[in-house]
């Protein structure tokens, strides 16, 4: 890990640790989404296992977007972003540091949320539970890596927060599909999650590489 990457990462983590803004709002929002879906779909017995994967993935998605909306907010205030642009370190490292930091936040939220989720939906996992430790991080990485990139892309637009969702969700659909199918497959024990895990991994590789390559274009676009 290069020095610049490490510095950016520690900075973001430290700032977040002081206020816990994004983290608390993410946690509460994802809990709300889980509850709302329960009211919308009335999960019971086998049915709850069928929809649990979808609910968890969508809850993660909405919660992450609420955090991603402010991912660059700190940099925009006081023209910090201009100072970042003038720094000689490649923009890609700033991008990667932000992705890692946000990834950690969302993962911690998921870890806190998981037991609550298991209880509320009365889940016992029929398939290989440890695969979830692979699926959820891969899915979260897909969401966060694209989210940070498009958040940077929509910084100077009129409806910044709305535009992020509008751009992110269509592009995220294949990863969402894979995440939901894999999680459902693990929870119900039906089907083979490996296919979806491979797809998720491939998606992550392709989009993280593309984001790293194109981030400087977006960052310095002016």
């Amino acid at each position: 890990m290069t020095r610049a990457l490490w510095t950016h990462l520690i900075k973001d983590l430290r700032i977040e640790l002081r206020s816990l803004d994004a983290f608390v709002s993410m946690l509460f929002f994802s809990l709300l989404v889980v509850v709302l879906f329960s009211i919308a779909f009335d999960p019971h017995g086998d049915f709850s296992r069928d929809i649990a994967g979808g609910v968890l993935s969508v809850a993660t998605m909405f919660a992450s977007v609420s955090a991603l909306n402010q991912a660059w907010a700190r940099e925009i205030r006081h023209q910090v972003i201009d100072a970042q642009r003038m720094a000689p370190a490649p923009g890609a490292e700033l991008y990667l540091a932000k992705v890692i930091a946000n990834f950690l936040f969302v993962t911690i939220v998921q870890i806190i949320l998981a037991p609550i989720f298991l209880i509320m939906y009365n889940l016992h996992i029929e398939g290989q539970a440890w695969l979830l430790l692979l699926v959820l991080p891969l899915g979260t990485w897909a969401l966060v890596s694209n989210g940070v990139f498009f958040a940077a892309l929509s910084i100077r637009s009129r409806n910044r927060e709305l535009l992020l969702s509008l751009i992110l969700f269509p592009i995220f659909i294949p990863a969402l599909l894979a995440m939901v199918r894999a999680t459902t497959s693990i929870l119900t024990g039906d089907g083979d999650p490996n296919l979806w895990i491979k797809l998720l991994f491939g998606y992550d590789v392709i989009f993280t590489t593309t984001s790293l390559l194109l981030f400087d274009v977006v960052f310095h676009a002016e």
Binding site: F150, R156, S157, R158, N159, I171, L177, L199, L214
Partner: protein
């Protein structure tokens, strides 16, 4: 000379479309199983063929824009105009396809929509390019073209992934007619109508694409002139 050629092209396109209509509705025989409703194929398939072609044009335009931004600004501007025109006309044709499909499906299968591989993939394609157009509307300033070009590349990358993700789903949408399994393929009596309509809708699509390109180039020149005026006014 150019105007004459363009005028001739417009006349030819309209003639093609009239002939295509005649062939589709009167020239082609009835389908054995489906009856008259199958005639939508002469609009449904060409629309999507055109949409995919124009989305490719948009993709290439985005790449060209990013490549030539610094070295050949004028080429970059042309590329950006192609990118926008391709995306807009592509979205229109994709919408036509997504509308004719359910109309056909309702009659043929009894359902308007299903979340199978083909339909979901196409809907996601449509969503991606609509989000591209929204970015172009909402993003402000000179960097909008760069940001749109980047999104154009991301979107185009996503499409094959969506396609692959859906490959393993059971398909409600009919298996490929052209180049499909044994026993597929269109009856030769219907082929002329099909090819005439492909030609007609492609000709129409290219016409609209070219017009959109020209309009966008004019708009670029207007914007540049305004920017120049604003700069001069500060002196």
């Amino acid at each position: 000379m150019k105007k004459a050629a363009f005028g001739l092209y417009i006349v030819l396109t309209i003639a093609l479309m009239i002939w295509g209509f005649y062939m589709a509705i009167y020239g082609a025989p009835l389908d054995a199983a489906q009856g008259e409703i199958f005639r939508i194929i002469f609009y449904h398939v060409p629309s999507f063929a055109a949409a995919f072609t124009f989305f490719s044009v948009s993709f290439l335009g985005s790449i060209a824009f990013l490549s030539f931004r610094r070295s050949h600004p004028d080429w970059a501007q042309r590329a950006d105009a192609w990118a926008l025109a391709g995306a807009e006309v592509g979205v229109v044709f994709c919408t036509v396809g997504l509308t004719t499909g359910p109309i056909w499906g309702r009659r043929a299968w009894g359902i308007w929509w299903t979340w199978d591989a083909r339909l979901t993939t196409t809907l996601v394609l449509w969503l991606i390019y609509v989000s591209y157009l929204l970015l172009r509307r909402f993003a402000a300033g000179p960097q909008m073209q760069t940001l749109a070009a980047v999104l154009g590349i991301f979107g185009a990358l996503d499409v094959p992934i969506v396609y692959m993700a859906n490959r393993w789903w059971r398909t409600q949408h009919p298996a490929p007619v052209f180049g499909g399994a044994e026993g597929s393929g269109m009856d030769p009596s219907m082929l002329p109508a099909f090819f005439w309509n492909m030609g007609a809708w492609f000709a129409w699509g290219i016409l609209i694409l070219a017009l959109r390109y020209i309009v966008e180039r004019k708009q670029q020149r207007i914007d540049a002139a305004e920017a120049q005026d604003a700069l001069n006014a500060t002196n």
